[in-house]
């Protein structure tokens, strides 16, 4: 088990190298540079800037310089946000995204699992259909539609939350909910699917034949196996939610990390792009590992060595 965990964690190294290399060359292949603006600067001034940021060196050399820096745990200075290091930007913005993500995860799991169980408790009945219809609506409305609708209703009409930014912790509820709704829908469907699969299995039939009550069966037998599909989705879902969403953070104007994933690419902020992507990769590896461990717990047939 421990060996398995160590092996999985060691995976981070090839992952980081692959991510760093592909992102580095992809970014530098993109037209334009970090200092382009509508006001075209003269070649001489451009040369001064390139010299300062080592952009005048051959790409291979810049790549090695970056890897060297990375090896020492330094993600370098941001190009766009003058004099802020990428480490610092990630350190200050990730907590906000993670907070929203946790709230989102809470909504996603509580709404998703309860809807799924509710639907599965009586398959192919009206409550099953209506719960699943609701879940489908959640999936098919993009968050850039749900977000503004929420603001309109809860912040402007009802005045419960701040529209932009957050001053109090409660202001993170709305973005969390917006993010959670979509994932809740996925969890609901997966839970229902998982449970309906288990219900058909022999040991449940046996339990029924033995005269155990539905509730007992549900709690003792069905849930454990029925939650497997939802669990395997938990990894990617949690990663996506914790690292923040561009859409949610832009619409609610939150100082989170999610905005930087795309914005830094658009700004050609090479170091920040790399930093965000690498950070995300590490997080994905860890989350996937956690999920697999949870899997082993829920499903006795799965063992790791």
């Amino acid at each position: 088990m421990l060996g398995y965990i160590i092996r999985r964690l060691l995976q981070v190294i090839p992952v980081l190298w692959l991510v760093a290399t592909s992102t580095f060359f992809l970014m530098h292949a993109a037209p334009g540079g970090p200092f382009d603006s509508e006001r075209q600067i003269s070649a001489e001034i451009q040369a001064n800037i390139n010299a300062r940021y080592h952009l005048d060196e051959p790409l291979g050399k810049q790549y090695l310089r970056y890897l060297q820096m990375l090896a020492s745990g330094d993600l370098g200075p941001s190009f766009r946000y003058a004099d802020r290091s990428v480490n610092e930007i990630i350190a200050t913005t990730f907590p906000v995204s993670a907070m929203v993500g946790l709230i989102g995860l809470f909504f996603a799991l509580s709404i998703g699992l309860s809807t799924g169980i509710f639907a599965a408790s009586k398959l192919n009945s009206w409550r099953d259909y209506s719960a699943m219809l609701l879940a489908l609506l959640g999936i098919s409305l993009p968050s850039f539609v749900v977000g503004p609708l929420m603001i309109l209703l809860f912040s402007i009409k009802l005045g419960w939350f701040s529209v932009s930014g957050y001053n109090r912790l409660q202001d993170l509820l709305l973005p969390g909910l917006t993010m959670g709704i979509m994932y809740a829908a996925f969890f609901a469907r997966l839970t229902r699917g998982g449970i309906s699969e288990i219900i058909r299995q022999d040991f449940i039939r046996t339990a029924k034949a033995k005269g155990l009550s539905n509730t007992v069966i549900m709690l003792r037998h069905t849930l454990k196996g029925g939650l497997l599909p939802a669990t395997s989705f938990l990894g990617p879902a949690a990663t996506a939610m914790l690292t923040g969403s561009l859409v949610v953070e832009t619409i609610f104007n939150l100082p989170g990390l999610g905005r930087f994933f795309v914005q830094s690419a658009l700004n050609r902020d090479y170091t920040l792009v790399m930093g965000c992507v690498l950070f995300l990769a590490v997080l994905i590896v860890i989350m996937n590992l956690l999920v697999d461990l949870a899997y082993a717990f829920l499903d006795p047939r799965v063992t790791y060595d």
Binding site: A30, P31, G32, G33, F35, D36, S37, E38, R39, Q40, I41, S42, A43, E44, I45, N48, I49, A51, R52, Y53, R80, Y81, A82, D83, R84, I89, T92, T93, P148, I151, L152, S155, I156, G159, S162, V163, S164, G165, N167, T250, I251, F252, N253, L254, P255, G256, R259, L266, N267, R268
Partner: protein
Amino acid sequence: MQDLVFSSRIIKYGALLALHALVFTSASTIARAAGATQPGRISPAPAIQFAEAKEQILHVGNGAEIKDADPTKATGIPESHVIENLFEGLTAHDPLTLAAIPGVAQSWQISADGKIYTFHLRKNARWSDGTGITARDFVYSWQRAVAPETASEYAYQLYCLKNGKEINTGTTKDLNALGVKALDDYTLEVSLNHPVPYFLHLTSFHTYFPTPQHVIKKFSGNGEWTRAGNMVSNGPFKLSEWILNKHIKLEPNPYYWDKEAVKLSAVYIHPIENVDTEEKSFWAGELHMTLQVPLIKVPSYLDEARKNPRAYHPYKMEPYLGTYFYRFNTSKPPFNDKRVRRAFTISINRQLLIDKVTRHHEIPADSLCPPGLDGYDFPGTLQATVSKETLAEAQELMSQAGYPHGKGFPNVSILYNTLDNHKKIALAVRQMWKDSLGVEVGLFNQEWKVYLDTQRKMQYEISRAGWIGDYPDPNTFLDMFVTNGANNQTGWANKEYDRLIEQAANTSEHKARLDLFRQAETILMDELPIAPVYIHTNTRLVSEKVKLVIPHEPVRSWHGNLTDRLLFKYYALAK
């Protein structure tokens, strides 16, 4: 956050100025105190009750997070909104007219040939840590601005100083060769390469601002000195908080020489990128001022103003020193043909575009230069609408060029960067060209940096462009199109035009100089490497509470200016 109410009950007619309120105007001024209902138009109104000192907290939307707060290195409008309140140059802006008024310099003399400026600094100017400001601070800052290692994008703003360009491009290594000398602690002598009639505007631009040598050196030249807690500034405000993508908080600078003029007790500058969120935030009472107004909402604001003309309307619209235009790639067919360029240019129905698409009451551009350029006026020839005669002329030109009714016209596209407004304008203009010239023009939308790259490499046929003037002088617009100018990007070259711009740069006599510019623009408007579309307006939502308190002037409602300077020194909040 306090509740902002957008109704007329804020102004209490006939109410006396409460004693505990800030008293910033003389009694006679209060009697004449004005609450303008329309931008610029002052109507008599009763006294205004100002909010208490601790409630003088202004919240402003400012678009994208600023890149840098170092005056020497920063570029961009959102940056200037922050920096111009933190720092002050030798000269400052008049908040309404933008004329150069004394800043750190109390007075100045200009030599007869217009090349030597002598500034006399005020002795009570201080940094926000209490250190006095001397002429040497300016020498340091300006030398730092042109030093190649600083890598300032705006270094070229100082190229008019003697040896400015030479030092920046590395041909002269000696920083002391720069045309700026401290004659004593409070006297600064500036030598220019040639007369620069707008030089006093430049000294109020942030690249020319003083920077605190003693602080920058402490952080060994790296940018950490611009962080809240580290930064020391000399303007009306100091930086007290800067949380990335959350807000920037300014507080009054206790050592500012004119600190009595500052009424606000804090300014929060919120980076809100999403226009819709910004607008919603304003209506929720979280902002006093926005940076923009969503295009699609403008008709309803205008309707509201029409229906209820006496009430206060937060939608504000000011002329702006900027032009929106399309570039033609003159280096290849079909736009190497002047006739085609003219046909395309005159068949844009500018008024219709403004009324139905851009909607901010922009001014149809009849030439490149917007009004307000220091007395410069050019009798533009382009029309706002497309008359029958114009249409006939355009079609005739296309026939002459070999494309009757658009037949045989090559595939061309409008290049624009990803932004809703540009998209809509391109769609509308495309339709106009299709209807009037029979030409089917494609659209080509690129992400910002790719667009800049494509435009620079001239891999386009038609490209949307815009230009905002740095200072109110025609040079800021017209020198863009000199042959091989970095911002020309049309491939257009004209020797006579180059000569006129060059000659204007060396002419100090105001009228003669403007005349040279006029001749140059005549050539430009005849050749049309660009199709001017409209003159920008600057629109934002402003709460009724925001007032301008300018010395020796009646208190007035918020009022913008031509280059969108937000000078919070003059702002105050009504109750």
